[in-house]
Symmetry: C2
Subunit: 222 residues, 2 copies
């Protein structure tokens, strides 16, 4: 069966990625969200609403990353920074070790089990937080290991890994989302939970700059 899987965090980028997959595929993709013990449930709940908007099946994969720790996004004892965030290597404390590697690996497993042809991810290496597993060279290496890991690769029909946003600016992503009628009002980018974005964390600031540069108001803030 042909079909698509989209890794959906509930944020802006993954939602626009889902909109692109839905538009190109002509039918609802499978949306996969990870419940990894992040600080708040807001993004998982938002992802469910966004999947519903697209009448997409929504699979929530539980993989509790809290026992291994090491990130401000899973360890409540580490504060989410509100200013400049990078360490010596330019990587913020909100980095979750190997997160995209783990998420994409599980996504490939699900895609193969369900005989889907492509995994889509909204990773972006332009207006991003500096996580190493968002870079194009990571994605290229992941494609290679995915081909070798899967039975489908041995059969000569690897699951494709699609990254339509990787070289887009945040403003481009906002514009693409509006053009495609994506439910941007439902998306959640803030690292903190609650009902209103904090406005000061790295994710909020990147998002605000994207909407400002696109010249449109953020519908999630209305």
């Amino acid at each position: 069966m042909a079909g698509d899987l989209v890794v959906l965090s509930g944020g802006l980028d993954s939602t626009v990625c889902l909109a692109m997959a839905a538009a190109e595929g002509g039918r609802p993709p499978l949306a996969v969200t990870f419940d990894y013990g992040q600080r708040h449930r807001t993004e998982v709940d938002r992802a469910a609403g966004i999947a519903g908007f697209y009448r997409a099946e929504h699979l929530v994969v539980a993989l509790d990353a809290r026992p291994w720790g090491g990130s401000a996004l899973t360890d409540p004892s580490i504060d989410v920074p509100t200013g400049s965030t990078g360490d010596a290597a330019g990587i913020p404390v909100t980095y979750v070790p190997a997160r995209n590697l783990v998420f994409l690996s599980v996504a490939l497993a699900v895609a193969e089990a369900r005989d889907l042809d492509a995994v889509w991810t909204g990773v972006n290496a332009v207006d991003y937080s500096g996580y190493p597993d968002c870079r194009p060279e990571f994605v290229d290496a992941f494609r290679r290991v995915g081909e070798l890991a899967l039975k489908r690769g041995v059969e000569g029909r690897p699951v494709e890994v699609r990254t339509p946003l990787i070289d887009r600016t945040k403003a481009d992503i906002v514009r693409a989302g509006i053009t495609l009628g994506a439910p941007l009002a439902l998306t959640w980018s803030c690292y903190e939970g609650g009902t209103t974005p904090c406005g000061s964390c790295d994710a909020c600031r990147l998002r605000a700059r994207g909407f400002a540069e696109a010249g449109v108001a953020d519908p999630a803030l209305v």
Copy 2:
């Protein structure tokens, strides 16, 4: 902190791999076992006993693969074969999509979060079941993507991926385990659960041949 992580299934290969890591490291590694909804709990329980033998911390990672299906090892409606098992591509129905890719990705995440220097896995490409994610080319590609995914890679100190058994015969592995005093009596290879191995599944047959070729009795059968 220097230190090692061993992916421990509770089987023969991963136990000998743990024995090697413990011998080389001079202190107990962290043992990580995946509870992925396999047909039976026997291997998770055995892994706990083996970790205990080495006084190793034992982390059980829950990642339920049943919702995505597609394998005789996680889907009770698919029978575990007792004879020749390969399909057209030579891959048996006991193949779990992307299993080693997922397990090694999580292992790298845990290693980085705990600042451990190496991940050890007992993958073997000689006397094995024909899974694509046990081949040396898969492991090489995984090393590459792991370097790119991790903050430690950016910092120039990637987590090493050790595969000391990859080109060994099962008989060699049995001999190595005996030499190192590994608790082979505690290991469980059978795809079925219960208290006694079935003796007829692919894993039982590979194990029996290994002990026979090494010229020793299997202590798990005594």
